[in-house]
């Protein structure tokens, strides 16, 4: 009998177990299952030893160019930031990695407390009262936020700024359309890159339940949340998709009266990993907490009066409310959220500001240097660590060639916006040094 390292059964075991059960063979246990295939016909390779598997996967890994071998000027929702060693070492601990949802709270206090602290930290960044224990990613978090505006307002139309990450908009449309919710796009101001307030006013009426903007938006421009909030009627839900590192420097949306703040959390100590898994964060006010999707952790006491943590308000969730639940979400991205909590603990109050400040200053220096080389910035609005510039008609080819020189250049925007041919979205993080900028300037000239 072939041996497998993850399966303990010896021939003797199998014999004894079958005898106890009273079955003659393993096949006896499968009497109800129709025989639709013969196992031998499955076109999957035979089992392999660990060394062979390792070498196959390693050879696939070699067929990629990795960010840590390049000078990276690309962001657009996923950021190449430094992750201190302590973050992934702590996050990789087996009782974090191989535990499941904290259904038995007494033996899940590590998970529950780590997530409770995560909720606290994200609430600090977003300036909101309550944050759930994570969503899948920024895009689905925004989609769920728009569904929540409809639940709260009972109005089936939402507005979204056209300068929100295009994949977030597409995801939202996928989520809301089947429930007969209409999505209306609000133009952006071609000069500033910010949402066009006149167009917003024009499209706002009694039938609109929620309005979403991104902060900073997809072009890297910082939206004026104060000016936007002033335009919104009292009852219209204000949704902000935000970058968590930007929130270390920018006034949090909660301060401007946002009702829901969501975003992609990857930048908080999670690996880019080809775009997943990162995690989505989701914050709102206590007034609306019962309309919120996803798991939520609360503090309580045990029978001896000792402080402990449990999942709360579960009657919102699918396993109890079934088809009437606030969302179908069950598994979330808890491990990624805990990794973010470890990152926020490590960077702390000063560290996240330092990361944001360096990233922003570097971007502004790069923008200045590009302008001195004759490149024009596309928008005049204030930006933080990403901006769009006119890179020239032939930029896409140049972008691919730059990889050969070890540069992952600013993202060609034509991928998302047909009318932005030759425009590129540059991003900088704390990983960029002056010599990297010099190299980019030389390659792009």
């Amino acid at each position: 009998m072939k041996k497998y390292t993850y399966i303990p059964h010896t021939e003797e075991d199998i014999k004894e177990m079958l005898a106890t059960i009273g079955a003659k063979s393993i096949d006896d246990l499968f009497v109800d299952v129709p025989k639709t295939i013969s196992p031998e016909s499955l076109k999957i390779p035979e089992s392999k030893d660990e060394l062979t598997v390792r070498s196959i996967v390693e050879s696939l890994a070699k067929k990629n160019r990795f960010l840590n071998e390049m000078r990276v000027f690309m962001g657009a929702g996923i950021y190449y930031r430094y992750i201190p060693a302590v973050v992934y070492h702590m996050a990789s601990k087996p009782n974090f990695v191989t535990a499941y949802t904290p259904y038995q709270a007494e033996v899940s206090q590590g998970t529950l407390q780590a997530l409770f602290e995560y909720q606290t930290m994200i609430s600090e960044l977003t300036g909101m009262e309550v944050t759930n224990a994570s969503m899948y990613d920024g895009a689905s978090a925004l989609a769920e936020a728009m569904l929540m505006t409809v639940r709260v307002s009972k109005k089936k139309k939402v507005l979204m700024a056209a300068n929100i990450h295009p994949e977030y908009v597409r995801t939202t449309k996928t989520y809301v359309t089947p429930q007969d919710i209409e999505v209306v796009m609000v133009d952006y101001d071609k000069e500033t890159g910010q949402i066009d307030l006149e167009d917003l006013k024009k499209k706002l009426d009694d039938t609109v339940g929620g309005v979403a903007v991104q902060y900073p938006n997809f072009f890297g421009i910082v939206e004026d949340l104060k000016a936007i909030k002033e335009v919104l009627p009292e009852k219209t839900m204000f949704v902000v998709a935000a970058d968590p590192i930007a929130l270390a420097l920018l006034e949090p949306p909660g301060k401007f009266g946002a009702d829901i703040v969501v975003g992609e959390g990857q930048a908080l100590g999670n690996f880019p990993s080809l775009g997943g898994p990162g995690f989505g964060f989701f914050s709102t006010s206590m007034k609306h907490v019962r309309m919120m999707p996803g798991r939520l952790i609360g503090q309580t006491r045990d029978v001896d009066g000792k402080t402990g943590y449990v999942m709360i308000l579960q009657t919102r969730e699918q396993h109890i409310r079934r088809s009437k639940a606030t969302s179908n979400i069950c598994s979330n991205h808890a491990h990624n959220a805990v990794m973010a909590a470890i990152y926020m603990s490590t960077m702390g109050k000063e560290g996240v500001v330092e990361v944001a400040r360096r990233s922003a200053n570097t971007a502004h220096y790069l923008a200045k240097a590009l302008q001195e080389k004759g490149f024009k910035l596309t928008f005049k609005g204030p930006f933080l660590f990403e901006f769009v510039f006119d890179a020239g008609e032939d930029y896409e080819k140049k972008w691919k060639d730059m990889v050969e020189k070890g540069i992952l250049g600013p993202l060609p925007m034509e991928r998302f916006f047909e009318d932005m041919k030759g425009k590129a979205l540059a991003a900088t993080t704390e990983m960029i040094k002056k010599e990297d900028i010099d190299a980019l300037l030389e390659a792009i000239a």
Partner: protein
């Protein structure tokens, strides 16, 4: 203690190189800049290590011991998977495709192998979890009917034994949900099904084996009835671990098949995620898949966004790639022979444990204890409650005291005092026997001294928690008081 209470102004756990870029004015309007810094902790590196080491020690996990949560497939998470996934950490989703050929090839090959295992014709790897896959699958079904101008199909049939995500996902996709009462055997009642099936039925969602651990033996008939009525059949893959190498959902007549890579394919559950929930479909549904789909053209792998009838995107980027690498590594390791062995031993383990328990604990829908189950089964504590006043919840807590994680409790809803037990193939005969002994001891204790069980657990980091107050007066973040 919380990390916030460890904090002390002036401590630091990070260090950065000298900043060599000249200072530039950011020119961001004053009112958009933070007036006060976010109150994150200020600790040094040893605090971070001690804090999270302390928290981690309070968790039970698969690495620590037996974790028989039904329908969760808490099998061992191989270490090699983690190492292989780490090789691919530093990839940006928008890199030129030429620079991520290895990653795309891995996704393509994983997809091909999963299609082979499930008997489907195309697949998306994008959904982030089981429920996300369900939503994706239901949206595909919706798009299929609409594309055929079959506008009446507004309802989805779900058995009353289904996971809560099934009705919730169907509702999110805009369908009305009809619950189907199970038969006396705990299976789909064909007569009931016939009554519900009509020209407004969009789909039937089934878990097979179902959540009671029994295989829907009429599955071929059910598929025939569904298709005859113009409805599609949806496979909830939570329980695929029972049948790999034995039967394929696609061959049984399922049109849409979801998988949980974090269950069947050994990727870790990570305290509740990230998972991955690929969706496989039959030929006639492939044009509705969400974008992008990984495809191959000669030697080149690429992401296909050109699906005019696609349901759109269900999240950003390409899914939980880091999880996909782990599942790929697992399938390579196990191979077709090992996957079948995994299912065979998962089913053997469940039947063995069921037999051991049936001596002293009634099994749901199995009067004489002789019915073969698949990879899981449900023990019923109704009799125990009646005789001793000890609830399933008390039994669960008493198991924690004895060093085991409890099974899934109070699910499926059709068994009132349910203990839903899934041992998986990675547990040994000795472990199963130790668990059975612990449960037996608890049952005996229930008869002698029920009060002691109501006070369980006693050996855990905290004891029973006041959940009612926690929900009535929610404290959802730490504050200095």
């Amino acid at each position: 203690m919380t990390i916030f209470e460890r904090s002390k102004k002036g401590r630091r756990a990070y260090s950065f190189p000298e900043y060599d870029v000249p200072e530039v004015d950011l020119k961001i309007p004053e009112h958009l800049m933070r007036s006060e810094k976010a109150e994150l902790p200020e600790v040094y590196e040893v605090d971070v290590v001690r804090h999270y080491t302390e928290l981690e020690a309070k968790n039970y996990s698969v690495d620590r011991g037996f974790y028989p949560l039904g329908s969760c497939t808490m099998k061992y998470n191989p270490k090699l998977n983690e190492d292989m996934s780490a090789l691919f950490r530093w990839l940006h989703p928008y890199q030129p495709e030429e620079t991520i050929q290895g990653a795309l090839k891995l996704m393509y090959e994983l997809k091909e192998m999963l299609m082979e295992i499930t008997g489907t014709d195309d697949m998306t790897l994008v959904p982030s979890a089981g429920a996300h896959g369900e939503l994706t699958g239901m949206l595909i079904i919706r798009a299929y009917h609409l594309d055929r101008k079959d506008y009446k199909r507004s309802k989805v049939i779900v058995p009353d034994s289904a996971h809560g995500t099934n009705p919730a996902s169907a509702a999110m996709a805009g369908f009305k949900v009809v619950e189907l009462k199970s038969s006396d055997e705990g299976l789909v009642d064909l007569k009931e099904l016939e009554k519900e099936l009509d020209e407004t039925t969009a789909a039937i969602m089934l878990t097979n084996p179902n959540t009671l651990g029994y295989f829907e033996r009429d599955i071929l008939k059910i598929a025939e009835m569904a298709h005859e009525a113009g409805a599609l059949l949806y496979y909830d893959g939570a329980n695929l671990n029972a049948i790999m190498g034995r039967a394929r959902p696609g061959d049984m007549g399922f049109d849409v098949v979801h998988l949980n890579l974090h269950k069947t394919f050994s990727t870790p559950h990570g305290m509740g995620g990230p998972g991955s929930g690929p969706i496989g479909v039959k030929e006639e549904l492939r044009e509705f898949l969400p974008v992008p789909v990984v495809r191959k053209d000669g030697d080149r792998y690429y992401l296909d966004y050109d699906l005019p009838k696609s349901i759109g995107m269900v999240r950003s980027f390409y899914g939980n790639f880091g999880v996909l690498v782990k599942a790929y590594t697992y399938i390579l390791t196990m191979g077709r022979d090992g996957l079948k062995m995994a299912s065979d031993m998962a089913v053997l383990n469940a039947n063995y444990l069921k037999k051991l328990l049936s001596e002293f604990y009634p099994i749901a829908y199995d009067k004489d204890g002789k019915r073969a189950c698949m990879h899981e089964f449900v023990a019923d504590g109704t009799k125990l409650l009646k005789e001793t006043g000890v609830k399933t919840l008390d039994v669960a807590k008493a198991l924690l005291d004895r060093g085991f994680h409890a099974p899934t409790v109070y699910f499926p809803l059709i068994v009132h005092e349910a203990l839903m037990i899934e041992p998986t193939e990675t547990e040994s005969k000795e472990t199963l026997e130790a668990f059975a002994n612990a449960l037996k001891e608890i049952v005996e204790e229930a008869k002698k001294n029920p009060q002691s069980l109501k006070e369980a657990p006693k050996n855990t980091p905290v004891r029973r928690l006041d959940e009612a107050t926690a929900s009535r007066k929610p404290i959802v973040k730490w504050s200095r008081k």
